[in-house]
């Protein structure tokens, strides 16, 4: 074994900065995904037929093709078709946002539909309007089903985000490669950011467990 981490020391701040870059990118993609995902879920549950068909097709396409392909398509196709020179960041949040929207819409749809149909009937029988019923009765219950699955999506997204290194976006992964190239040693920087990914995922997992425990506790009360 000839591992030598000392050479890497000057590059460490540069790589640590990648944490912020990765997290920022994941957060923005997640926000886009959540917004579009909620809309798609509502289309699927109670939208008129054309919107429902659109939402279903959308989900099928984005879940049925590789994410890296979607990323490449956006990064290369947009300049070729429109002449607009799209930045890596914009391509990345677009691809990841649109992709996670498909997954999140399924999470939300399943979470809402898992709420007992009797809840809707009870609310209707009391004369509660649709919006109020959704907001006060259905969504708070659906939230309990949705939150744990959503936490998993965040974790997946954090790990998958490394894909954006392929279009030159300077995230954690890309930085490890850059450092590796300039030191002529790939292994150490890769191990280093690997550790960072793992710690990030562990933190997210712990947060997720805590939330889940809270939700369970409020079931028994």
């Amino acid at each position: 074994m000839n591992l030598d981490f000392t050479q890497m020391t000057p590059y460490i701040p540069y790589m640590l900065e990648g944490i912020w870059v990765t997290l920022k990118f994941v957060a923005v993609a997640l926000l886009i995904g959540a917004l579009i995902g909620t809309l798609l879920a509502l289309f699927k549950i109670s939208g008129p037929a054309p919107l429902r068909a659109f939402a279903i097709a959308y989900t099928s396409i984005f879940r049925g093709t590789p994410l890296i392909l979607q990323l490449m398509l956006i990064y290369f196709a947009v300049p070729q078709l429109t002449g607009y020179d799209i930045t890596p960041f914009l391509s990345a949040i677009t691809a990841f946002g649109l992709n996670s929207a498909a997954y999140i819409s399924e999470i939300i749809r399943a979470g809402i539909q898992a709420v007992d149909k009797g809840q809707v009937e009870a609310a209707q029988a009391l004369g509660v309007p649709y919006r109020a019923m959704m907001k006060d009765i259905i969504l708070p219950q659906a939230f309990k089903n949705i939150l744990p699955a959503l936490m998993n999506e965040v974790i997946t997204l954090t790990k998958e985000s490394a894909l954006v290194s392929t279009i030159g976006y300077l995230d954690l992964m890309r930085r490890a490669q850059v450092v590796g190239a300039s030191m002529y040693r790939q292994f150490e920087p890769l191990l280093f950011v690997g550790l960072i990914y793992w710690v990030l995922v562990m933190i997210l997992t712990l947060i997720g467990r805590k939330i889940e425990r809270r939700l369970k506790a409020s079931d028994i009360r």
């Binding site: 007992d116 009797g118 009937e121 009870a122 029988a125 009391l126 004369g127 309007p129 079931d219 009360r221």
Partner: protein, 240 residues
């Protein structure tokens, strides 16, 4: 209070209600009985449009609900409904369950709604449970809360769909007692039930449904004493 004329309900090709007509006056208690699958629940649910009638006319609590222009939400405020499986809101306390609709739908103030809710909880014998969540209640307690929740809207009439069928035997009485008390207070009630004792003792009239038809109706004495149709006789032989 209720007038049903030629009510038909189909699910796809399956005709579940085949032209039902009846009338209910204010203050009457009606027991609806019949074999499983005869359409009792469907009949009840057509009265507050949880099911959309396929044909016929339903007038209830002053609303012509089969009329396309009918304000169905306004009608539902006058029609309380109690389900076999309670359907309490699990994320709200007992008090929250009772005050939600009066505040949200009728615009009552919190104080007003809570005062009424407490009176109702006292009436169903659950005053000490107002801060509990439904998950911590027994079946009988849940159903009494569900009745109180429906009453909190101050409806003109109440529909019950097998309110005691999901309960352990020892809890049936506490729920029936609340319903008897309600009947005595003059509430108009339609009760789908398998509790023949309750039908006999409390109902003014019994409707017997079989295969989507109103086969027989009469006072409990007439119906239980000398059923006119052989289908009613068969049914009573099996359940009594």
């Amino acid at each position: 209070m209720i007038s049903v004329k030629g009510l038909i309900k189909s699910f796809g090709d399956l005709e579940v209600l085949k032209g039902i007509s009846t009338k209910v006056d204010a203050g009457q208690v009606i027991a609806v009985i019949g074999p499983s699958g005869s359409g009792k629940s469907t009949f009840l649910r057509c009265l507050n449009k949880l099911e959309e009638p396929t044909g016929g006319i339903v007038e209830i609590a002053g609303f012509s609900i089969t009329d396309k222009k009918a304000d169905i939400r306004a009608a539902r405020q006058e029609i309380g409904m109690v389900f076999q499986h309670f359907h309490l809101f699990p994320h709200l306390t007992v008090l929250g369950n009772l005050t939600y609709a009066p505040m949200k739908v009728k615009g009552e103030s919190k104080a007003q709604a809570e005062e009424k809710a407490r009176t109702l909880l006292k009436r169903v014998g659950l005053s000490e449970k107002e801060d509990s969540y439904p998950a911590s209640l027994s079946g009988g307690q849940k159903q009494r809360v569900a009745i109180a929740r429906a009453l909190a809207m101050e409806p003109k009439l109440m529909l019950f769909d097998e309110p005691t069928s999901a309960l352990d035997p020892e809890m049936v009485k506490e729920v029936l007692d609340v319903m008897k008390d309600l009947a005595k207070s003059g509430m108009t009630m339609i009760v789908v039930t398998h509790e023949m004792g309750f039908a006999r003792e409390v109902a003014d009239r019994v409707l017997f449904l079989d295969q989507g038809k109103l086969v027989e109706e009469g006072t409990p004495d007439e119906f239980f004493g000398s059923p006119k149709t052989h289908r009613a006789r068969d049914f009573l032989e099996k359940v009594l």
